[in-house]
């Protein structure tokens, strides 16, 4: 019984943890711009992240290797170093965006000056990480993020055209504005399959000392957690489609996204939405800052781990402290969190192939995986997604330039 309970708790936390600032921004904007026409991208992204995080979790449980161990072992030192640098830059950008998001959400709740709130938010996160055990961090932010369920209620209350929404779930090409449409496809996939999620997930699995016994848990976590995360994404896109598209509003602030719950549900909806956003981006900022530290430590072979005391993994600890400080500096320059998010998501897409290829390779290695190596389904999906990721990665930057960051 308690095992089922624990599983449920874990999944709840995963659900709250799936949505981050990239999902918020891209899903709502896609709805505001193209209505229901991009809904089909969400399930594709969700299945992709399920396939790869299940694989990462399995690799971690059986071979005790985290993602960046695999990257360095498999793609060669030079390519791995390139991947490391790219992923560190993207992680830092994403972290800064999430941190900015925390400050904005706090500002929308308190009305205090934004700059103070940046410092306050970062110091708060630092102290939480330093003194709180990780289980609690995950729970607090995961459950808080569940407030985002308010968007599902809001979406239904706005009575979307379900027929059209259903049609939007079928992949198709639009009549006009194909470039911007393609840009959004890339952004939505990037937001759903952000690499930091797998870095974080696999390192966590190694730390929690998963064994093959935990593979069921791994699968359930991946499928249910990310599946429900996709549900949130759909809700967000629907609010964009129902509320903003008709009014010609292009969301450029986190506040706009919260407005999507305020209009149909009033004050309670608004507060729940902001609190949900606060915890979702707060949790994601912790995940990103740790991912940066995991990757560097694994690449260099240092001791690492959030479950170790800070003194037992010194350079790992130092790394996340430095990343935290750099994040504050970036946000304090006044760069807009939503703009930063867009860049972070699009650039993260570029780091995807060299993150996923090594996982696919190790997951097929008999010597490490034995009978837990990839089955046919995982391999077919893994390979198909690798191709998808490659196409997306190659087209991401050109599309961003051609569409002037989605402006058309």
């Amino acid at each position: 019984m308690s095992k089922v309970f624990g599983l449920a708790l874990g999944i709840l936390a995963a659900v709250g943890g799936f949505v981050d600032i990239g999902d918020l921004v891209f899903n709502v904007s896609a709805g505001a711009m193209f209505g229901y026409e991009l809904l089909w991208v969400i399930p594709i992204g969700v299945v992709g992240i399920i396939v790869f995080s299940e694989m990462c979790g399995r690799v971690a449980a059986v071979s005790k290797k985290a993602v960046f161990d695999a990257v360095r072992e498999r793609v060669g030192f030079k390519a791995a170093l390139g991947t490391l640098i790219a992923s560190e830059v993207v992680n830092l950008m994403t972290f800064a965006a999430e941190l900015g998001g925390v400050a904005i959400a706090l500002q929308l709740l308190s009305g205090l000056p934004y700059r103070w709130l940046i410092v306050l938010a970062a110091l708060g996160l630092g102290v939480v990480i330093w003194v709180t055990s990780f289980d609690w961090i995950e729970r607090i932010f995961g459950y808080g993020g569940l407030c985002l369920l308010v968007f599902a209620v809001a979406a239904v209350k706005m009575s979307p055209d379900w027929g059209e929404a259903g049609a939007g779930l079928v992949p198709h090409v639009p009549q006009s504005n194909a470039m911007v449409y393609a840009y959004f496809v890339v952004g939505l996939l990037g937001a759903a399959m952000t690499p930091y999620e797998v870095y974080f997930y696999s390192s966590g699995a190694v730390e929690e000392e998963w064994t093959p016994k935990d593979l069921g848990l791994n699968r359930a976590n991946a499928i249910i957690g990310y599946g429900l995360g996709g549900f949130f994404s759909i809700a967000l896109m629907l609010t964009g489609a129902t509320l903003f598209l008709g009014r010609g509003i292009e969301p450029e602030h986190l506040g706009t996204i919260a407005l999507g719950a305020e209009v149909p549900l009033g004050e309670i909806g608004l507060v729940l939405a902001i609190v949900g956003i606060l915890f979702a981006v707060g949790g994601a900022s912790i995940d990103t800052v740790f991912s940066g530290a995991y990757n560097l430590a694994q690449f260099c072979g240092w001791e690492w781990g959030r479950y170790r005391t800070n003194a037992r993994a010194p350079r790992f600890t130092l790394t996340w402290i430095v990343l935290l400080a750099l994040g504050i500096l970036i946000v304090l320059t006044g760069v807009d969190a939503v703009v930063l998010t867009e860049y972070a998501v699009i650039f993260s897409v570029v780091a995807l192939p060299l993150t996923y290829l090594p996982i696919l390779l190790v997951a097929n290695d008999d010597a490490y995986m034995g009978r837990y190596r990839n089955g046919r389904l995982a391999n077919v999906l893994g390979f198909v997604y690798l191709v998808v990721i490659l196409v997306v990665a190659l087209s991401a930057i050109p599309l961003m330039i051609l569409t002037n960051v989605g402006q058309g």
Partner: protein, 131 residues
Amino acid sequence: MAGRTVPLVALLILAGCNGGTVDRHALENDRKTLDSIACEGALVADGVAHDRTTVVFARVHSDELRIDASNFADALASRATEPGIEREVRRTARHAARIAGVLKRLHEHPANRVVGAVTERSLEQLAGGCS
């Protein structure tokens, strides 16, 4: 997600048609974005008018939108334009300034339902209709 042309970003990625002189395409884009800002402001104002929002949210968010609008007003008032469209560009700049002015009023009276109703109407008018 359109419209925002942060100078830093424009510098970082040497791309986009909004960096130098204002051409017709850029002007069209900016107008669309201004309508978007005004309509979003109207939505916030509607929340104030119907007591559906929190005071803090209305105050903070209307200010965000005001900053956007007045950035447009400043940029369109001073940037070089393509020949033939300068008058239109300057007119749009004044239009943006008016939107910013209304949003400022909302920002200063986020708890006043009457101001909410009035600003909602003006913003919708400035946007040329919102739905």
